[in-house]
Every structure is written in C-alpha cells, then in structure tokens.
Amino acid sequence: MPYLSECEVTSHHELSPGHYRLVLHCPEIAQDAQAGQFCMLEVQQGYYPFLRRPMCFERIFKDSVSILYKIEGEGTRLLSALSPGQSINVQGPLGKPFPLEANHARHIMVAGGIGIAPFPALAEAIIAKLGVTPEIIIAARTDSMLLCEREFQQMGCKIHLATDDGSAGQKAFASEVLRALAPGPDTIAYCCGPMPMMKATHRVCEDLGVRCLASLEAEMACGDGVCLGCVVEAKVEIEAERMVRVCYDGPVFDSALINWDNY
C-alpha cells in the first residue's frame, strides 16, 4: 500500500561528480519498502518539471530510506539542491520487489552504472533472509563512476569490478564478466543498468541456463499502473497481456519474459 508523505531530508552528499546519496526520514514508507521497489519524488512544487521522478531504494532502514542517484537533467539537478532539514513529497513504496528465492546456491548481482542503486538493499535482504552472501559485478564507464564498493565489502560480498575504459578492474562489459564467472543452473542473477547491458546479461544467462531477474527502466508518468505509459513488450501471445507496466507489473521481471529484440 503506497503512501504520499512529506519526508524530511536527513542527509545528502555528493559521492563522486554528479552522483549523490539522499537519506529521507519516512517511517511509513520504510516500514513497507522492500528491495527492488521504488518511490516517486516530487522534485519541486511548480509545474516544471511536471512529473515526479522514479528512484529505487538503495537501502531501507527502520525509519528512513536512502536513494542513490545520478544527475541526468532538470529533475535530478533540482533534487541535488535539497538540504538536510528541507522536505520532499514521496509516493511509495511502488512496484514489485525482487523475489527472494531460497533454491539457489549462488546469487550474482550485475550492476551497470547507476544501476547499482537497488543492490545494497537486495544484498542485505539476501543475507538476512536467505543466509547467503551474494556476489556483485560493478561495472561502469570509468572508475569515478564505480559506486558502493565499500558498502559491499562491509557486507562481505565478493566484488568483481569492470570499466569500459579499463581505469579500474577488468576492461570488459558486465555481461562478459558474468560469463567468465561460469554461473550454472544453481545460480540466480539480478541485473540493473542500461537496457543494452541488461539485454547482453539476459543473453548470457539464457546461454548458460541461469535464472535472471532484470530491474527495468522506463519513462514514467504515474508510477502506479494508471497511465499505461511505461510499458515494455513481453513475450506473450495474448494481445491484451503483451504490454507490461514497468511501474506496476515490475520493475523487476524474469528476463525471459521480456522481448529484448526492441533494445
């Protein structure tokens, strides 16, 4: 059950150029939120930007949540101007969380760029609920964009770094790093990042018989299943069920359900 609440900013820091962590005091939302879900932030009071901005939960605490975000345009730029003590209207939690499935020996999270955002919360949930420590592939364009390494170290996760330019870790795409880890049918992969990166990750998982859950992105208006604006095409024969809503049916989907030919 989502809430609409005015939430106070308790802390807000720039982590690396253009990347921020925002912590919001929101007891109701925090109580219900689960890893993989998201919220819609009202970045300002007036009508420009008109729509809220979707952001997933980086971590979920007792009375608060943290959000990890990257400046993309006007909305995130306005968000970055918020100071501790100010408040912001938050709608959430929204969407379906990552399912926590006990029948896998190995859990590998695959993050591309800011797609790292939902994984600290997921790692905590996997450790707490399943008693397994997941591995993580952190991939980004360059080393200054690699985020959350310390957080995953503290959780005891095995970390595999990769950059497009080789400035840190392997010079490789996240999907190739995953293939090299030789995941098998006992593995479950979770991926989040740009669509082409998730498509490549899906293909690797398909080849190797690995179950893969992808957290998708789409432009959103309502974030709550109403406008039908955020759909992606699923591999479903029945016409009426082919378009699935990222905000309501997802954002987490079994990657085998998605028609990746469109990306």
């Binding site: 059950m1 008109f50 729509l51 208006a221 309502c222 039908l228 082919r242 378009m243």
Partner: protein, 309 residues
C-alpha cells in the same frame, strides 16, 4: 451552511462537479489506495473498446514543459473484462460511472453503449471521438479524427443516441479550426453534453539520434501547458450550445477548475495532474467548497458561465 455542489450534467446527477479525465484514472482502483474515489462526482473510465487492445509500442510518453505527450494508443482491458471485473468494483464502491467508449465505426460505439447500459455498468456514456493516437502518423493527413468532421460527429452521435437512453456526452478534439461546429453537430444529433478537451496533437524529436521521441511519432499534449487553450474552447462552446459541458485540460487546483466553470462548464475533469498528485481531484472538490463558502455561493451552479465581461 456548506454550499450545494451538486450538478446535473444532461441528466447525470453528480454530487459535486468533479470527475477525472478518461485514461488518467484507469478504472479507479489504483487511486482508491490514496483516497476514497466514491467521493468524486463521477469516475470516468479509460476508453473501452469491444476487444482488448495492446496499444502502441513504447516509448509512449515524454514529459514536456508543464505537461506531457502521450501516445498510449488506447490500450484497455476491453468491454468484457470491464463488465466482469472493473464495473462491479466501481458499483460496490458506490461510484457514479461515466463509461468512456471507443470504436472503429458508429455500430461499434452503439454496441458498446448498449452493453454498458444493459449491464448497468455506467450511469452515462462518454464517446471518445477524438483519440489522436490510433493512426499511422507517417501517412495520415487532414482529418483523421471523427471529431474533426462535423458530419461524422452527427452520424456517430445519432448511432449512439439510438442505442442508449443514458446521458450521452461527446468528447471532442481541440485540433480543429472552430470547436463550435462539431459541438453544435453533436448537440443537434442528440448529445446530452460535450466533453472538452482531448489532447492537442504534438511531437518531439531527439536531435542526437534524429529520431522521434514517441514510437508513434505523434502524440497528445496534456497538462497545465494546454489549460488556456482548453478554457477558451469551453468558452467558445458555451456561447453556442445549450447542453452542459464537462471541461478539462490542465486542471490541477480548484482555482483552475473555477476558470472552466466560469467559462461555462457544468462539470470538470482532473486529468494528467493525478499522475503527479493522485489525490488532486479530491483536493479540487475541497477547494471548490471552500471557494463557495468564501464567496457566499449557495449553489455552485450559480458560477457556471458567470465570468464577468
């Protein structure tokens, strides 16, 4: 004493003048998690077609200055699922229902209206003769919307009129030279009300990729960006028709809604702004009551068309 907010829209009694824009409220269930949707004067459904529709390919929406462009393409559950699953929920909630319909011929519209009435699944019919998102924009030219051609408006309205006794509203497009013409055609053909405006046609291009932003290329513009256009069109229509008007286009607050009422609308609909503020329509109702009290208005109907010129 609190003001009387009740209005009669061509035979449809609404306990207050506020409904929601078709396609911006689905079938009511989602937003009922934020406020009791039975408090609305009426819930207007997403356009219903005879068969379920998948709609256009993504991307289907993009934000614009103070608004948004959409090309959903009438994705909807279809009349059967509506009758089986959605209408019973709305009825059980005690909602007044405006059933919005879309078809490919006058016969399809008539069939949809007949079924909604027969199953008691709507208290009024709103015929969407103005969806901009169901044509191939690369080849389309001229009047592709029924509501752009007064003769077609006459034919469609007559067909639906013959099929139902429910109050019948015709939803028109602003993409015309003179909105009065299709409005007069609808009135003469037996409509009980005019719903205006549907979205304004628009498009966007990404200069980096040189590709259209929407897969459908063309979409419909909504939100505060279109409000002044919508208020003017309500005024234009109010000058020439005797039947009531449901005004919409960028309504966010009670003050916005009042502009439409003062221009001549009997009822108003909150559209895209619900995406930003799911309980916006309820806030509009509260704001209207507060305004009436502050201005000693006993009956909100006193304000219809009461702009001082």
């Amino acid at each position: 004493m609190p003001a009387n907010l009740q209005v009669n829209v061509g035979g449809l009694l609404m306990k207050n003048p506020v409904t929601v824009g078709s396609g911006t409220f689905a079938y009511g269930q989602e937003y009922d998690r934020y406020f009791d949707v039975s408090r609305l004067g009426a819930v207007t459904t997403k356009s219903l077609s005879l068969k379920p529709r998948a709609g256009n390919k993504p991307p289907r929406l993009v934000e614009t200055p103070s608004g948004m462009l959409n090309a959903i393409g009438l994705q909807n559950v279809g009349i059967d699922v509506y009758l089986r699953e959605k209408a019973p929920w709305l009825r059980n909630k005690g909602c007044t229902i405006i059933g919005n319909i879309y078809g490919y011929s006058p016969e399809e519209y008539a069939e949809l209206a007949r079924r909604l009435e027969a199953e008691g699944a709507a208290d009024a019919i709103e015929a969407n003769l103005s969806c901009p998102n169901v044509h191939d924009a690369r080849t389309a030219r001229g009047c592709t919307l029924v509501a752009q051609d007064p003769q077609q408006v006459t034919a469609y309205t007559q067909a639906i009129r013959a099929a139902t006794k429910l109050p019948l509203f015709i939803k028109l497009t602003p993409n015309v030279l003179d909105i009065a013409e299709p409005a007069l055609a609808a009135e003469a053909a037996g409509a009980d009300g005019i719903a205006i405006i549907n979205t304004l046609l628009g498009m966007g291009i990404d200069p980096e990729t040189r590709r259209p932003i929407l897969s459908n290329i063309v979409g419909g513009l909504s939100g505060p960006a279109i409000r002044p256009v919508a208020v003017k069109m309500v005024w234009d229509v109010a000058k020439v028709v005797k039947i009531p008007i449901i005004g919409m286009g960028g309504i966010c607050t009670a003050a916005d809604a009042l502009q439409f009422i003062l221009a001549g609308a009997t009822a108003v609909a909150v559209g895209s702004y619900s995406f930003r503020q799911p309980d916006a329509s309820m806030k509009v109702i509260e704001g209207l009551a507060e305004y009436c009290e502050r201005h000693s208005v006993a009956n909100i109907t006193e304000l219809i068309g009461a702009m001082k010129v």
